[in-house]
């Protein structure tokens, strides 16, 4: 891993601004997201309007967990296999 000197040609893109200022409350950890993911995904598969504010906030703010939840939805609903 390097700790290079600053490279002044870089800039904040709108995507980076959105990612940095995103509201990810209420707080939920990645560990708790994983714990709930199967229950959340089955609830979503039954009812697309299922509401879990903490899960939704976490999945907005954590692309890795979001990809895995999305994949699980695909697998459970059969849309991706």
């Amino acid at each position: 891993m390097s700790t290079n000197a600053p490279q002044p040609d870089r800039a904040l893109t709108p995507t980076a601004i959105d990612a940095l200022t995103m509201d990810t409350t209420p707080w939920l950890s990645c560990e708790d997201c994983f714990e709930r993911m199967d229950i959340y995904v089955e609830a979503l598969a039954r009812d697309g309007s299922h509401d879990d504010a903490a899960m939704a906030a976490h999945l907005r703010g954590c692309p890795a967990c979001a990809e895995e939840a999305d994949s699980l939805v695909d697998l459970v609903t059969g849309s991706g296999t």
Binding site: M1, S2, A16, M22, D23, T25, D38, V41, E67, S71
Partner: protein, 233 residues
């Protein structure tokens, strides 16, 4: 960041390796936990069935992310899926006692394979890439179009100022790596000897601090988004 391919289904050939398929024509266990935890023929059968399920889920995940793989051939996907399934099965069996039956067992099992496979794809994607852990070096933002240029410039400048004033150097470096440079959280965690959870906590704290500062300076309004507005991606 990893690239997903959600539009193309998993080819039929990508599935458990020969000899690992679940038995056809008889039922899966009614009580997976008991079947997997009780020595005997039923346990052997349950293990075989579970492994087939794990390979299926891992292959599903690797296939979604195959564009990120250095070598996205069918054989490579299959090998990676089988390897991830093995590791995920070990993780699952270590947590078997925690299954509470609040979802189907298969859904609960799939998430272990998906996590393992996705983490492994991201690791392979970055294995030969040097990861730069840099501090903020931004003076002004770039923007998509003229209609939002002034607003973005103003918010971006205020954001860069806030990052320097309310974040610690560690918080800035983690935020820049994950949210500006797009380093996958698992990859950064591995390189730093940390965990996904610990880094996400840092990112969450960063966002809370930055939002509070930008609200205080009038660049953001303190609005909580609707609680049911988000899906899974």
């Amino acid at each position: 960041m990893s690239t997903t391919n959600r539009d193309e289904p998993l080819p039929l050939g990508l599935s458990p390796s020969r000899g690992q398929e679940a038995p056809v024509g008889d039922r899966e266990p009614d009580d997976w936990v008991t079947a997997l935890a009780t020595p005997g023929a039923a346990q052997h059968d349950a293990m075989r069935r579970l492994h087939a399920l794990m390979v299926r889920a891992a292959a599903h995940q690797v296939w979604r992310m195959r564009a990120s793989l250095p070598e996205p051939s069918r054989d490579a996907v299959n090998d990676l899926a089988n390897q991830a399934a093995d590791e995920a099965m070990t993780a699952l069996l270590g947590k078997l006692h925690t299954f509470q039956g609040r979802s189907r067992f298969t859904t609960w099992a799939f998430k272990f394979a998906i996590l393992q496979a996705a983490t492994e794809v991201r690791r392979l994607q970055w294995q030969h890439r040097e990861l730069e852990l840099r501090d903020l070096d931004v003076a002004a933002p770039v923007h998509d179009g003229p209609e939002h240029a002034a607003e973005a410039q103003d918010l971006g400048t205020a954001l860069a100022r806030a990052m320097r004033s309310v974040l610690t150097p560690h918080q800035r470096r983690v935020a820049v790596a994950l949210l500006v440079d797009g380093v996958p959280i698992d990859v950064l965690a591995e390189r730093l000897g940390s965990t996904r959870g610990a880094l996400y906590k840092t990112v969450h704290d960063v966002r809370v601090r930055l939002r509070a500062e930008l609200v205080a300076t009038g660049h953001l309004t303190a609005v909580t988004p609707p609680s049911n507005s988000a899906g899974t991606s």
